[in-house]
Amino acid sequence: MNTITLGMRNAFRNATRSLSIIIILGLSIGLSLTMLIAHQAVGQKIADAKSSIGNTITIAPAGFSQFSQANNSLTTDQLTKVQSLQHVTNVTETLTDRLTTIGSAQPSFGKFGGSSTSTNNQTSLKSPVNINTNSKSGSGMHVFINGGSGSLPSNFSPPISIVGTNDPQNLGNLASGSGTITITSGKYINGTSDTNDAMVSQSMASKNNLKVGSTFTAYGKTLTVTGIYKSSTQAGANDVIVSLPAEQRLSGQSGDVTNAVATVDSVDNLSSVTTAIRNTLGSNADVTNSQDAVNQTIEPLNSVKNIAFYSLIGAIIAGSVIILLTMIMIVRERRREIGILKAIGASNTRVIFQFMSEAVTLTIAGAVIGIIIGVIGGNPVTNTLVTNASNSANTSTTQTMDSGNFGARGRMGMSANGGGNFTARPTTGSGFFGRNTNSLRNSISNVKANVGWSILAWGLGAAVLIAIVGSAFAGWLIARVRPSEVMRAE
């Protein structure tokens, strides 16, 4: 019979005591595992939250908002400096303008933030947006008439947005963008090529009987449809997308950009790059990222993660103390037996290994119970911790989120003749960051704890660690037992 087998058998010499020890250890290891599961699940959720918010920074002209109509713009030269900053992998630039339909009655439009000097911002296209001028609600788009006293002309056609971009495939990154677009016919335009090619939405194409290869006019020039897209937003359906150089030329805004989104190589660098961009652009731009809002949203998760971590450490220490005291008790009870083993030729190392084997056997048996507890309790405990933490933090988070400037609604603003103001709000009308952080806030309380092989391996590892730590002092006691004590016991 080898040392390990002997130790394993000794673990069950006293069935009642062994069972008690195993149950107590099982609870301790179960608590450790539950906390480990919670820690990992919450950690994963935090990582997911950070990654879901993206690694982008929005750059807008200083003082610009959808409604302020500030007559500022960024320039391509400024954004070239941004592009050269460390950790910036891409800068998507857009220049947005509005086109009115030739022959449409003309409400008094303000500029949309750019500094267009063109007086010929008209197009042959008609907007696919239908507005019932006798009602405060439109078809396909909600319309709010503020001020109430004005009315729209009967031959009024809503304006059309023309978006010049250097990256037509990533418009979804833009706070005022066209959402996610998918080409359904034709191809994407080349965002850096100064050609009169354009992409229009399916709705726009349908309204104006356009197909790939068709032409229309804008700014007095003829543009060719090279792609028809499907937009994820209704606002995007009212867009015409051309290349950035083309829009700068057509609108007479050479070098101007109304909006840019910088992509950073890692979310970890978001904060430092935001600061760098602010330093680069100075007071010319408002530079914002979603990190602060996200950090506030995930704060409850960080608390839970910390609680889980410290509870994990506490449970491991408790388990170690339990096995330590157990082994001390066992060694004290069996001093005579230790003396016998030494007297008949067992070395200190061998006896210590035998008792360590006994401790490991007890803890592994406890680990089996602990793993069952962890598997059953991991998810409910995690959810309880997260829900409680989320609820306690929800009020302050909500207030902060709603008062932030990320929730700007809509992307069309105008003054209508007659003094009535209206805002056409797309269905997905909340702002980009507001949308994402609200969604994130709602999702953080829904943490799913998964118990995988790695968790089980950690559990067993913790059990072995507990056994080794717990039996270390017992080993020292064993080494101090002199074989002659077996004679004294006579």
Partner: protein, 222 residues
């Protein structure tokens, strides 16, 4: 041959130094059966511990088969004890959760004897001391005192030691069983040429051994 020269062992008891063994010298040739007698507190058990290398002397030398064991390191002593010395205790001191067979296999396991050889050797020894096959698979709690002492003797013989030290081996047994155990040890000394030293109160037993030493206050008086 066991040679003991000026062996002493002192303990500090408060401010007083107590000599449990005080300058003892004697020799026991191979294959002899010797006894040590003396009153309680005379130093018998301490002497046995010293002879068994369970304790180190504070003075003097012990030679077993011409090897001085008093200067060996702790690690070497463990090795030496396993190979050269067998113990038989008054309370048998078998491991309670192991069977008789497993108890005898234990020192063989420490010596590195492999599975089948270990079992074969242990079975032979148990048969030799009169333990039946049925009794071999019993744990000590299910054996009589005499049977347990036989198992203890088999365990002491496992690694073919040069010296067997028995501390009151018949102390917990009735006189008839005690006589049987004594005869067993006596035969082993003769048949296996093993030196056996028995500590006993029983003057009848002492009178039948090849040599007998009387201890008084840590000193050999006869």
């Amino acid at each position: 041959m066991l040679k003991v020269k000026d062996l002493s062992r002192t303990f500090q008891s408060g401010d007083v130094k107590v000599a449990a063994v005080d300058g003892i010298s004697f020799e026991v040739p191979d294959g002899q059966f010797a006894s040590i007698i003396g009153k309680s507190g005379s130093g018998k058990t301490t002497l046995l511990s010293l002879l068994g290398t369970l304790e180190k002397p504070t003075g003097g030398h012990i030679e077993i088969d011409d090897k001085d064991v008093t200067d060996l390191s702790d690690h070497a002593l463990v090795d030496y004890r396993r190979k050269k010395i067998g113990f038989v205790f008054q309370a048998y001191n078998l491991i309670p959760n192991l069977t008789a067979l497993e108890n005898v296999m234990l020192p063989l396991s420490f010596e590195g004897v492999h599975g089948d050889d270990r079992k074969k050797r242990a079975t032979e020894l148990l048969k030799q001391v009169g333990i039946t096959a049925d009794q071999m698979d019993r744990k000590p709690g299910r054996l009589s005192g005499g049977q347990q002492q036989r198992v203890a003797i088999a365990r002491a013989l496992a690694n073919k030691p040069s010296l067997i030290l028995a501390d009151e081996p018949t102390g917990n047994l009735d006189s008839e069983t005690g006589k049987m155990i004594f005869d067993l040890l006596h035969n082993l000394a003769k048949t296996q040429n093993t030196t056996i030293i028995v500590v006993t109160h029983d003057l009848t037993i002492a009178g039948k051994t090849d040599k007998s030493f009387r201890l008084q206050d840590g000193k050999l008086v006869s």
